[in-house]
């Protein structure tokens, strides 16, 4: 989107359009009012001194009998003009101060930065008052006073923005290429920060309009016989009991004009700045619905995926026809599987296949506007769809542990690690503070954290990444977990630490017969930990097979393609890496047939039209493919592309 298009986009939002109209009106008034009503505003009428508001004088008259309403209209020009002058001065000085560090180099630049930092700590009004002392009361003194008062804040903003841009690669490249500092500033830095600066200058104009009104109100700004809104307001306030309109009308004028500048600035900031993802996911229909899963009406039979060993007595987790939707998009489209006690199952798939959402849905952690539906969702024999919230909280709090991908961000940064673990025992086991903390230390020890007692008193940022992930597992062990759901637990860790964490998971599993649901995009990790693998594609399970069969017994073309894309020691390094051609299906518009068909070398018309069901093969596996087991024609002969 070009910048012009974005600025035009500002006008299309209701707030932006209203603000622009308001600002246009103020500007028009500033130009026209003195021409049209200049005479009436200065017309002295000693017969009607200090008259209250009437049909003749809408806002009454002042101590010389002049009509206050017209004086307010005419004062628009002075008020806006002076505010814009002060803003221009402030922005100019601010830009100069803000870009000076770039021009002067690091040493002198640091001095300027420090000076600006100190100046910015003082409120603008205090600076303006101080400068007003130097420049004297009156409009010619107030303009530089306000201008210089807003300069530090603007300088600070310019510095920050310029510093972020100056750190980028293209600026560094320009520097290395020998481009001079001034040129780097003008050509590379300023154009990239112009938009936010412009937005802030607009808001600064609103600010200086209000500040100017303030100074004039105090008697330090515009002096008689000239007048602006602030001065009129100050005069009107003295007689507020006799004629409130004399104070209120100029006040309203100041607010409207200030609002016009600020709202235009805010609307522009919204249009110029990046949008948040949450703003685009809207769903009015589910707004008031609780995020608890509800059994769907009747799903078409071919959409349902049934739990394979549903009848088994040792089933810990039974999922049938699980769906997760965000508005009209359904990233998880009917997933079903069963987890036995102590079993480790991996879910693999590309990013966007719905594997993480499946895990979060099972853990009941999908937040609005997300919506979870399932025909069956049972954990440890309890129906999660029908358990009352309180009981469900207790059940999941003690028996289900979660390990998330990024240990850096999964701990509360301002709470000590021990507290964060102890909280679980306090909440669900009824422990008091002391015993809860003792258990936390014990659990940290159990996950092999050296110096557990000391570590428990530390904050998360004092832990290394691997240690945090182990502490996270320790947090899960505060209760008596029967299932650990680990969502990409090792992706953010380096290889050696990854091995430790996986070994720990395996130990925990072996020690207490805990089931593990491991979400990963790394087939190697899954092979190392799991008994069984669920392969997901476009929100469905496409294959379910024992891990021993993964390497040579995979039946779905997608599973085989995934395996083919994993480089190993025998991979010919002179050849480009193998990739799966095409793009993953768009979750907003899933195809009617098999989602993998567009990328599948075996696909035919039937595949594109009819979605294959996940069928049990009688030997502990399931596959959803019309052409399962058929060998691919010269499967994925090394495709050019940037492999992963």
């Amino acid at each position: 989107m070009t910048s012009r298009a974005r600025w035009a986009g500002v006008l299309r939002t209701p707030v932006g359009a209203a603000a622009a109209v308001l600002l246009g009106g103020v500007m028009l008034l500033a130009v026209l009012a003195p021409l049209l009503w200049g005479g009436r505003a200065d017309e002295v009428d000693t017969a009607h001194i200090l008259a209250p508001a009437s049909a003749e004088h809408w806002a009454g008259t002042d101590n010389l009998g002049r009509d206050i309403f017209f004086r307010v209209l005419v004062a628009t020009r002075t008020s806006v003009q002076l505010a814009l002058l002060a803003t221009a001065l402030g922005v100019a000085v601010g830009l100069l101060l803000g870009t000076l560090p770039l021009l002067l180099g690091p040493r002198l630049g640091r001095l300027v930065t420090a000076a600006v930092n100190i100046a910015v700590a003082f409120p603008g009004l205090l600076l303006a008052l101080s400068f007003a002392v130097i420049f004297g009361a009156g409009a010619s003194g107030a303009v530089p006073a306000i201008g210089l008062a807003i300069a530090p804040a603007f300088a600070r903003l310019t510095q920050t923005l310029a510093a972020t841009v100056a750190g980028r690669d293209f600026v560094a490249a320009a520097r290395i290429a020998g481009v001079g500092r001034v040129r780097v500033l003008l050509r590379h830095v300023l154009p990239n920060i112009a938009e936010p600066l412009l937005v802030n200058a607009t808001m600064a104009a609103g600010g200086s309009l209000l500040a100017f009104a303030g100074l004039s109100f105090l008697g330090l700004g515009v002096q008689a016989p000239d007048f602006d809104w602030g001065r009129l307001l100050g005069e009107g306030l003295n007689g507020i009991y006799l004629n409130p309109a004399a104070a209120l009308v100029p006040g309203v004028a100041v607010v409207l004009a200030g609002l016009a500048f600020n709202l235009v600035g805010e609307a522009a900031a919204k249009a110029v700045g990046p949008r948040t993802a949450t703003a685009t996911v809207r769903n009015r229909a589910t707004d008031s619905a609780p995020p608890t899963p509800t059994p769907p009406a009747a799903a078409p039979v071919w959409l349902q995926q049934t739990g394979q060993q549903a009848a088994q007595a040792d089933a810990l987790l039974v999922v049938e026809d699980l769906k997760v939707s965000f508005g009209t998009v359904t990233p998880v489209r009917g997933v079903g599987f069963t987890l036995r006690r102590g079993e480790a199952v991996g879910i693999v798939g590309e990013s966007g296949s719905g594997k993480s959402l499946t895990a979060l849905a099972v853990a009941q952690l999908i937040e609005q506007p997300g919506r979870v539906e399932a025909r069956r969702l049972e954990f440890g024999g309890d129906d999660l769809l029908r358990t009352p919230p309180r009981a469900r909280r207790r059940l999941l709090g003690t028996s289900l542990a979660m390990v998330f991908q990024d240990p850096m961000t999964s701990f509360n940064p301002v709470q000590r690690v021990g507290r964060q673990l102890a909280e679980v025992a306090e909440q669900h086991l009824g422990h008091r503070r002391g015993p809860a903390l003792a258990r936390a230390v014990d659990r940290l020890r159990a996950v092999r954290i050296p110096g557990a007692a000391r570590r428990a008193r530390q904050f998360p940022h004092e832990f290394s990444g691997g240690m945090r992930q182990r502490a996270m597992i320790g947090m899960g062990l505060m209760g008596e977990p029967e299932l650990i759901i680990a969502d990409e637990p090792t992706t953010a860790l380096d290889v050696t630490v990854q091995r430790q964490v996986l070994a720990l998971l395996a130990d925990v599993r072996a020690a207490d017969d805990v089931a593990v649901l491991l979400i990963s995009h790394d087939l190697g990790v899954v092979e190392q930990v799991c008994d069984r693998v669920l392969v997901m594609y476009a929100g469905r399970i496409v294959e379910d097979l024992p891990v021993e069969r993964l390497r040579d017994g995979a039946r779905h073309p997608y599973t085989r393609a995934l395996l083919g894309a994993v480089p190993d020691l025998s991979t010919d390094r002179d050849q480009p890496l193998v990739v799966i051609p095409g793009r993953p299906a768009d979750p907003a518009a899933p195809p009617p047939g098999c989602a993998f068909a567009p990328r599948c070398p075996l696909a035919d018309d039937h595949c594109a039209r009819v979605d294959p069901a996940l069928i049990e093969d009688g030997s502990g596996g399931r596959v959803a493919c019309w052409h399962a087991d058929r060998p691919e024609p010269a499967l994925y002969a090394a495709t050019e592309g940037e492999g992963r």
Partner: protein, 369 residues
């Protein structure tokens, strides 16, 4: 770099949320390398090890913060000193008027020490300040310290009350709004809150004051229109001063809480199946507050200066009316003294804000070391 990150984040956050997030992210990951080497390898016994780990960053923080305060005070004092010398022409002549006899002006210049070399005036000024001597009013002949002593309590009361009100209203309000409107719930509430708070934030305190006077004093007659007499007279000035900052702060609290609610550690807290109340108050609020204080801290300092306008509306017998009268009357020693007091007040508030931040967010104490 002199403690730039707080202001950095202010500037960035004022503009876009993502900039602020990205900045915060960097800060979170950064200390890992630093600390990984430090405490992990320490093999000291548990108790003194704990003390040294905790003690070091705090001592460093105190030293750094104190250094910055001293530099700021020095800049403030020097600025106040230079203020008079930057006035074009002769300040004494300007103060006494064109008709004043030359001898009087000369005598006054001599008394104020304005005929001494600049460095000596500066040295005298500093020496007097240390001794609590702020100079003498050119008009009334009263010591400036006495003027300040008479007027400061009224201003301080106003500022402290407004400060407390703004904080006490904005935090629960912002948190409640964030919880109510998270994830796109209750759009009408969100719209009402954001537009209402934008409007209140734009209206400057002196206009709020005028509006309040009109409604509550003129129309309803509930509150006295001006002066400081009895508890009722505090209501309108404090309200006028607190409304704007409170609404801005509430907005910041809401935005920061919404951002925090997206954080992964909140998902962790939910995964622990804590009750909602605990998730919001124990896990979300402290984190949202640190971000709020970083962004909104300067706002509270601004309230100190905001008293000037509010006092002038309500004829409040504080420093605010004094400074305006003195500027108009060109009574420069008084102006100098009052500016110093205001400046010190702002620095004090900023110090309190930084200490609060350090207490709330353990990372902030080591961030820059």
């Amino acid at each position: 770099m002199v403690r730039a990150d707080r202001v950095d984040r202010v500037a960035l956050c004022g503009r876009t949320k993502t900039g602020c997030r990205a900045g915060g992210q960097d800060l979170i990951t950064e200390p890992d390398d630093v600390t990984e080497a430090m405490p992990v390898t320490s093999t000291t016994t548990s108790a003194p090890g704990f003390a040294s780990v905790l003690g070091n960053p705090w001592a460093r923080f105190a030293a750094r913060r104190l250094g910055r305060l001293l530099v700021s005070v020095w800049v403030l004092v020097t600025g106040a000193f230079l203020m008079i010398h930057l006035i074009p022409g002769d300040p004494v002549r300007a103060a006494l008027g064109n008709t004043a006899p030359v001898e009087l002006v000369e005598a006054r210049r001599e008394a104020l020490g304005l005929n001494d070399p600049l460095w000596q005036q500066y040295a005298d000024y500093l020496r007097h300040l240390v001794g609590g001597d702020f100079g003498t009013s050119m008009l009334s002949g009263m010591p400036v310290s006495q003027v300040i002593g008479d007027r400061l309590p009224a201003t301080a009361e106003l500022a402290v009350l407004a400060f407390a009100l703004a904080v006490l209203v904005s935090i629960p309000l912002g948190l409640a709004m964030a919880v109510l409107t998270r994830g796109g719930r209750r759009r009408p509430v969100e719209l009402a809150f954001t537009s209402g708070s934008v409007l209140l934030a734009v209206v400057p305190e002196f206009l709020v004051a005028v509006g309040l006077v009109y409604v509550f004093s003129v129309e309803l007659g509930w509150a006295p229109v001006a002066m400081r007499q009895g508890a009722a007279s505090y209501v309108l000035p404090v309200l006028a001063l607190a409304v704007g900052p409170a609404s801005i702060l509430a907005r910041i609290v809401r935005v920061e809480t919404l951002a925090v609610l997206q954080a992964e550690y909140i998902r962790t807290a939910r995964a622990k199946r804590l009750p909602d109340r605990r998730v919001y108050l124990r896990h979300a609020l402290p984190n949202a507050l640190t971000a709020t204080i970083t962004v909104g801290g300067l706002l509270l300092g601004g309230m100190v200066a905001g008293t000037v306008l509010a006092e002038n509306v309500f004829a409040w017998p504080g420093l605010g009316s004094t400074i305006v009268g003195s500027i108009l009357a060109k009574d420069y020693p008084v102006v100098q003294g009052v500016v110093l007091v205001y400046g010190l007040g702002v620095l004090l508030v900023n110090l309190v804000v930084d200490v609060a931040l350090a207490l709330l967010d353990p990372r902030s104490t080591i961030r820059e070391s």
